[in-house]
Amino acid sequence: MVIYMEDSNATISEVLANLQSIFSGVESLGKAVEFGDKVAVPIYQFNFGTGGGGGGGGREKRTNDAVGFGLAGTIGPVAVIILEKDVPGPGGIHIHEFKANKLGEALAELMLRLWNMVESQIGGRTKLSAEKKEKLMNI
């Protein structure tokens, strides 16, 4: 995409920066797929890249300045979580990564959701009432 304009580099830079911050390195959960005694949850990673440039040319009194930018992206599965329905607890959760990557905290957040699902099935949570906690903190 090429846009002819003057003195708009700042605006374009701002737009590009915003686009990059919104789209770059986003991980997302795909739709869960059930097969037999297992549930598979794919994880996708969105990689968007942007670029821009400008130039000038033409002859004296007939200049021809232009700036342009491009946006391209890829979306690909990076891992799949397999949940075994018949295996309670964390032993029933497996992660298969498709390639080396650092999903880091995003994957950890996903794991927490899975952990909560497992915990809700096996129980064991200890709720401490606000009243009791206040007593403990003021002992």
């Binding site: 607890g89 964390p90 032993g91 959760i93 497996h94 992660i95 999903l103 880091g104 905290e105 994957l107 950890a108 957040e109 794991m111 927490l112 952990w115 915990e119 064991g124 949570r125 200890t126 709720k127 401490l128 009791k132 906690k133 007593k135 403990l136 903190m137 003021n138 002992i139």
Partner: protein, 180 residues
């Protein structure tokens, strides 16, 4: 008027209480330090598991134990005041020191049952924790990190139990000293 033996017993209980609370607090700190070294994927899981099953986060446990340790210190000082007053055989001074002890001990007396119950919950959680950690699949926690976490916990259960038992004992001794 409180008996000298009872006050001495209370002083000793407070000394042991301060030490036990400090020891368990160090255990929580050590555990937190090991958890901080875990891979990013496993770290929040372990933190969340502690909070979900012991009722409080590591930071909340630290705050609670700091307050409990400080409370033992306050009661210890007040009990020493009663012991000194008893040595002087000054009834007025004994009454005043006993009233000060009662004030100092009030928050612990009020919360001792809840605190002991919470220590019981923590004790049960810690007892089952090594087995639970060993169940975590490699995808979450590599074998060496798992072993490091488990080996960082010797004596944790016993320390939690010691604090719980001391809380019950302290409440009992305090009751007889203050009532006496």
């Amino acid at each position: 008027m409180p008996q000298k033996e009872e006050v001495e017993h209370l002083i000793k209980t407070c000394e042991t209480g301060k030490d036990s609370v400090a020891a368990f607090s160090r255990s929580i700190d050590d555990f937190s330090a090991v958890v901080e070294e875990l891979p990013a994927v496993a770290r929040p899981l372990v933190r969340r598991d502690l909070q979900a099953n012991s009722g409080m986060s590591a930071d909340e446990w630290t705050t609670f134990l700091e307050r409990l340790g400080a409370r033992y210190g306050t009661i210890y000082d007040a009990a020493r005041g009663v012991a000194e007053a008893l040595d002087e055989a000054n009834d007025g001074k004994v009454a005043k020191a006993t009233a000060a002890l009662k004030d100092a001990a009030a928050p612990l007396v009020e919360s001792a049952d809840v605190a002991a119950e919470q220590m019981q919950t923590m004790e049960a959680y810690l007892e089952g924790l090594p087995a639970k950690i060993n169940m975590i699949p490699d995808a979450f926690l590599k074998a060496d990190a798992r072993e490091g976490l488990v080996s960082s916990m010797p004596g944790y259960t016993e320390r939690a139990r010691a604090v719980k038992e001391l809380l019950n004992e302290t409440k009992e001794v305090l009751s007889s000293v203050i009532a006496g």
